[in-house]
Amino acid sequence: MLRRVFIGSVSWAYLALVYAFIFLPVAVLVLFSFQDGRLPVPPFNGFSTQWYEAVFADRKLMAALGNSMLVAISSSMVSCVLGFLAAYSLARYKLPGSALQRGLLIAPMTVSYLIIALGLLALLNALHMPLSLLTVGIGHVVINLPLCFAIIYASMGDHQINIERAARDLGASDFKVMALVTAPMLMPSILAAFFLSVTFSWDEFIIAFLLSRFDVTLPVEIWSMLRSGLNPKTNAIGSLVFLASVALLLILEFSLFGRTKKQ
């Protein structure tokens, strides 16, 4: 009996430690974003929202926030469309070397972001293409396309083939089958791929740093703020970024995974 209580409390303590290890840095970040003082380090001097006001008043930060959203949403949309088309053709048609093609599509996942960024930098240089938000977006499509492809491809099962067949039998053209039947049917996984890819793009630093010049994304802007020393303002913007990611994950969880369970 005592033994069981002991084992039980040890496992609860272990669980608490694991979560503390994962979330303590974030909790500290959020706590000191409310610091009433100039340094985000202990002791905690008192509660204040002045740093949030400073963040929202900072035009450069707000511009970077807008850029990040633009890049995240548009690059994720492109990744999802390309990923869906690739998954559809590989799942529904007999293509030459389809195992190899699947491998090639997923391969960029294994390459480090730094290498991808360097490769793209060299390529863009050779093409005389100026660095901009567009080039950051291209970089993010390169890293998110494999993810979108893998998620959407995994959800394409044989049981949907008869449904597509029925649509074709009722007079739908190939394009209409894809647009009116296949894509809506796979919408839960397409949206899951979209939101995951938005969160990855939103947080991504190396590619955004190396492939941008005048307009930068939020992580790059935060990094340049950090160079001038620690400041509760960076904690505030960090907390906001974290909040946005959590919000996205919650949307994903409740709107999509909830719905697939019901089906």
Binding site: N162, R165, D169, A172
Partner: protein
């Protein structure tokens, strides 16, 4: 709409496997045809060729008076009702049923009205706003039927549509299917491996085996006058009694069997006319055995048999009878409820001449 279908010498091979071997079939407009056979007999392949999902390796498919052999499913006057219903999970029922009309360019108001009419036909008008996952299996099946009928096809192809339903619901749906087919008048081609289902709904049954058509005709003819041993065995329980033709003329034949000799009308030789010396197999349905009771029809006495086991089935006793004259295979007979049979009892056996069908012996057909 409705149209006749003509299948001319259609073969289909997958690599070395022959799924269909020179199949020819003429279906009249408005007929309810059932393709019946065990799995792997080619019935689904034939249906896919009619629907345009497969192209035959050789032969022709004519629907109405147009050659449809290589026309895509979308351009054929056929629709298919799939075994798993294949409803669009993200659409309301009214949109599911209206999908084919939408593809034909009908406006929303018009197609919704038509779709509601077809949902009404299958008794689901009140659920028009629901989605497929909210329905039971039988209801989904009805929606699939409404969706396939909504585009007014000339031929409706049904791929084991009742296979996933439980027995009671299946019997009920058979009646509904038959009633709806009568109302719309469309030619129905229905695939199943359930011979009771086939008899319940078909105008004519096509019995298939190993890529060939074994028998084709109205249910009563297939059951009472099968034209092959396979067809006789597949349509229900049957006793096979080996024999030999001793003498034959144009109207009758003298047949010798282990149970005695019989004179059979030539009409009972359904596969080919009798010839002296032919090895044959007599097929006798279990319910055709009579006791020794009097009858106006010509009867054959088959000698006495010993009851080797019996079970009460409600409508009849199913008995295993060992003929006293031979130690060959036991016979299965269905005796009336009123007959009080006991194990070990000796009963006289008789059969009406008209009920015995003579077919070429199994080795002779191969």
């Amino acid at each position: 709409m409705t149209a006749p279908v003509s299948i001319e010498n259609v073969s289909k091979t997958f690599g070395h496997f022959t799924a269909l071997d020179k199949v020819s079939l003429d279906i009249r407009a408005g007929e309810f045809i059932v393709l019946l056979g065990p799995s792997g007999c080619g019935k689904t392949t034939l249906l896919s060729i009619l629907g345009g999902f497969l192209s035959p390796s050789s032969g022709r498919v004519v629907i109405g008076d147009r050659d449809m052999t290589f026309v895509t499913p979308a351009k054929r006057p056929t629709t298919t009702m799939f075994q798993d219903y294949a409803l669009f999970p993200h659409m309301r029922l009214v949109d599911n049923v209206g999908f084919g009309l939408r593809m034909r360019g009908l406006g929303k108001a018009e197609r919704d009205e038509k779709a509601l009419g077809f949902l009404d036909l299958v008794g689901l008008k009140a659920s028009a706003g629901k989605r497929p996952h909210e329905l039971s299996g039988g209801q989904r099946q009805r929606v699939a039927l409404a969706r396939a009928l909504a585009v007014d096809p000339e031929v409706l192809l049904l791929d084991e549509p009742l296979g996933a339903l439980d027995l009671k619901l299946r019997r009920q749906m058979q009646d509904e299917l038959k009633a709806i087919q009568k109302r719309v008048g469309t030619t129905f081609v229905h695939v199943t491996h359930d011979q009771e289902e086939a008899m319940a709904i078909a105008d004519r049954i096509v019995v298939m085996n190993q890529g060939r058509i074994e028998d084709f005709g109205p249910p009563s003819q297939i059951y009472m006058r099968p034209r092959s041993l396979f067809s006789a065995g597949f349509m229900g329980e049957v006793n096979f009694v080996p024999g030999r033709v001793r003498a034959a003329d144009a109207s009758s034949a003298e047949v010798e069997t282990t149970l005695g000799s019989l004179a059979l009308p030539a009409a009972n030789f359904t596969a080919k006319a009798p010839k002296a010396g032919d090895a044959i197999t007599l097929t006798i349905r279990p319910e055709h055995f009579r006791g020794a009771e009097k009858s106006d029809d010509p009867m054959f006495a088959l000698g006495d048999a010993r009851v080797a086991g019996s079970a009460f089935f409600g409508t009849h006793y199913r008995c295993h009878l060992q003929p006293c004259a031979t130690d060959g295979d036991a016979l299965v007979a269905h005796l009336p409820q009123s007959s009080d049979v006991r194990d070990g009892e000796i009963v006289p056996l008789a059969v009406r001449a008209a009920d015995v069908v003579a077919l070429p012996a199994a080795s002779a057909t191969l």
